[in-house]
């Protein structure tokens, strides 16, 4: 039974029944103002796996940014004497076929993948929030036009388009890649945001704001988006995992991050044909990628359950 009694019966909402609120203003003030945030935190903390995932993800970031200081090798140094040797005290993860230190390259790649993932996820969600809420709020031809764009982008094979565009962008900043990933990643969320806007804009508080003469974009910013915040936060988290995977697969095939820059995708792509004979050049990058994406999606799921108890498995 996943329904809590409050949803079935007209039990008093614990946050709304403060008998003396009018006369005794501050009796419950401190206790109750945190209710929602604390409730979410409490539900989130109940997910042991999610907690572990948070810890692991923090470790990943620390590893990616502090790890390179542990070794003397840079990701673009060549050590011709130790080509394809296994892990050792000098080269923690061994050396690849060109004599580059796998540890330094993997960590640098992890850095790049994480930063691309986080950036692209943020921009994707921002796109989605803007387009979805504008389409939903203004309706009519604005809506028709934006929905048409969404449908168009959904039927375009994004991977192919990215592959075709990447030679044009080759050599330019990796930020272009972030932008491209976002342009092809916002549509589904955009639709969800549009749907939520359609229902939120019928709420009386939106009408109230309209009847006060508040401008349309102010209404979107002040009343609509904050009320979808939980959806957007969850969406960013889940998108981090999705974009990391998208970026690595592009880079793996040589379309994403270009040499001499390194991402987890290029690390894996460079060493794919040696994966069976010299597993050390492939294994570490692969394992770090799997762990990162797994952690991010576990956190995303737990966050969604915590914010919206009816969506998942969270029961009393």
């Amino acid at each position: 039974m996943s329904m809590s009694p409050q949803e079935v019966f007209e039990l008093p909402d614990p946050s709304s029944s403060d008998p003396g609120a009018v006369n005794e203003p501050d009796r419950h003030a401190a206790a109750e103002s945190l209710t929602r945030g604390r409730l979410i935190l409490r539900r989130f903390l109940r997910h042991r796996t999610a907690l572990a995932a948070v810890v692991v993800l923090v470790l990943m970031f620390l590893l990616a940014y502090l790890g390179p200081y542990l070794t003397v090798w840079k990701y673009d140094d060549f050590d011709q004497e130790h080509i394809l040797t296994g892990p050792s005290a000098n080269h923690f993860f061994g050396v690849d076929q060109l004599g580059r230190d796998v540890f330094a390259r993997t960590l640098h790649g992890l850095q790049k993948s994480l930063i691309i993932g986080v950036f692209a996820a943020l921009i994707t969600t921002a796109f989605a929030a803007l387009a979805g809420s504008v389409a939903g709020y203004f309706g009519r031809w604005v809506d028709a036009g934006l929905v048409w764009v969404i449908d168009l982008l959904l039927v375009l094979p994004s991977f192919l388009v990215l592959a075709i565009l990447s030679p044009v962008l080759a050599g330019k900043s990796w930020l272009w890649l972030v932008l491209l990933l976002s342009v092809f990643g916002w549509m589904i969320t955009g639709r969800v945001v549009r749907g939520m806007t359609l229902s939120l804009k019928e709420r009386e508080y939106v009408n109230a704001a309209r009847f006060m003469g508040v401008g349309s974009f102010t209404i979107i910013r002040r009343h609509l988006l904050p009320n979808m915040a939980s959806l957007l936060i969850v969406d960013v988290t889940i998108n981090v995992g999705v974009t990391i995977l998208a970026e690595t697969s592009l880079s793996f095939f040589g379309f994403g991050v270009q040499a001499p820059d390194v991402s987890l995708g290029t690390v894996l792509g460079d060493s794919q044909d040696l994966a069976t004979t010299y597993p050390h050049v492939f294994l570490f990058g692969g394992v770090l990628l799997i762990i990162t994406v797994l952690c991010v999606s576990v956190i995303g799921d737990a966050l969604r359950d915590a914010i919206d108890p009816s969506s998942g498995t969270s029961t009393l």
Binding site: P5, V8, E10, L11, P14, A21, P25, H28, F211
Partner: protein, 703 residues
Amino acid sequence: MSQTFSAAEPAPPADSTSPLLEVHDLSVSFRSEAGQVNAVRGVTYTVNPGETVAIVGESGSGKSVSSLAVMGLLPSSATVTGSIRFKGQDLLSLNDRQLSKLRGSGLSMIFQDPLSALTPVYTIGDQIAEAVRIHQDVSKSQAARRAVELLDLVGIPNPQLRAGSFPHEFSGGMRQRAMIAMSIANDPDLIIADEPTTALDVTIQAQVLDVLKKAKEATNAATVLITHDLGVVAGFADRVMVMYAGKAVETATVDDIFYHPRMPYTMGLLGSIPRMDVEEKEPLIPIEGTPPSLLNLPPGCPFEPRCPIAVEQCRQTEPGLDPTDRDSHFAACHRSLEIAQRQWSAADVFVRPTVPEAAAAGIAREERPVVLQLQDLHRAFPIRKGAVIRRTVGSVRAVDGVSLDIREGETLGLVGESGCGKTTTIMEIMNLLKPQQGRIVVLGQDTASLKPDDRRTMRSDLSIVFQDPMASLDPRMPIGDILAEPMWVQKMPDAKIKARTAELLKMVGLSPEHASRYPAEFSGGQRQRIGIARALALDPKLVVLDEPVSALDVSIQAGVINLLDELKSRMGLSYLFVAHDLSVIRHIADRVAVMYLGRIVEIGTSKDIFDRPSHPYTQALLSAIPLPDPEKERTRQRILLTGDLPSPTDVPSGCRFSSRCFVFAEQLDADQRARCQSEDPGLYPMNADHGAACHFAQVREVV
């Protein structure tokens, strides 16, 4: 605590010496994030065969939970203790399969929301037939025939045909009838009706209550009626149990509850309902505060914090349900005998607030300036069909020629059933745009000629309070910002906004420190006060109130109505008060306009409309409203309208009310009927400032 109370009237049927349902010391609790919620705390009652017991209480009092426990329909997270005996059989010891056998045949239930209680994918007939076949060994065709019979019994026109309809093709009232048909399909001994008419309009409510009475007669079943509406109780119940904070606080016969209440809470409830049959306007008696949280109840009487006559003993021990001075009348109050001795009534126990006289009251209506004028306002919504090329196939004429005016310092009550175009009318006013047809003049300015800047300025003179206090405040904004928003729009300086916010909070009975809190921390009544404060932020001239109290419990409602009254006289406001509850309208409005199908059918002073209603629709509407007075209820003649509101896509020709009009159906000859069906009646003047849109308008007293 364990006393049961037996009926004084009517005498229990001779064949049954033992009660049908005995609930003894029933407690229900739920576990929640915040702790254990004790929803029901030791309730004891009995229901004798054939009698009607009403359980009355505000939301959160445990009235629904206690009945769901009887039906065995509580979720598994609930802990139920005590005993529930139905015909001597302990229901709590039965497993789900045994209970299922009993549900429907022995016990049956009618739910509040008939849309969610019916399965959308099966026809109404199939669903009733299914209920028949579960408990009776009959063939499919027999069950289908029985379903049609039952639909006929509950007054569904054309039952043979309608049995093949799906729930969404039925209106709310017809769905509730279908639910009643289903609940009596197997001749139950006990029907539990959980707020069966709360979601319905008054004329439909009257029809459904009538059907329920008929169904009761047909099956001779006992009924447990759960409701918050004391008017319904007065006309329907034999005995009443009042619940508060999970406990029964008073039980007695219906007359005793209404005429000799012995518990301050019951008295407060009775004092806080606006009465349609009381002409004199005096402030209502609100019960201060809100019901306690059932989470951590302090010791003592749960009503003590709100009770004006509480003594030290009330804070120490919780009173049991003890006998009072009257027969079979029990009350949970330490001072109930004292109340009886001193013959206290609600007005003695509670303080009746005073409301200052309005400044405008002294000036004749004609001399006061007009703040809002509607002239022949129309609004139609096109119905479009087709996926690619959308063509217009018809239109919903939501507002179809409304004219009215509101003068300074007066309250116009706009009443009508759902779907009559009230909301569309006020949305048209609030949009401040040029209407499709007709004119809207606000404070002397025609909205058609407004420039965007003028429109923004005008918004400070015109504001709105919405129905649902939960939905009208942005949950993500602190109260201070919510109140400041209209002032931001008018670009007021920050320091002024801050001072004004504090002032507004004080004005509506909250404290300025509340500004930093969020809406979720307030109760429904407090939230509505915040909504009112927001509407008054810019010192408007006209406030549109869209059902401002219909979502509130009665004891809270009274306080909000008094506040509106007081603010109106203090600030010289004019109100356009939209409501479906005529008792509230009678209390607050100076003039009343009755709307039917997009048009005003009768308009006049409050006194004219309530004492001398002339349009048949107004008469039916007034007579459909149950009065919280058992004696009056028993003698009252009710005008029952047939059928539902016609669809505004297909307005009847001539008089739009003729399809449901009882005068048309019973009193007119053929020539007169032809006139009704061909000629659209305008507003005929009845006397000064009173008009009715009926060719054969006649005054008839119905209250």
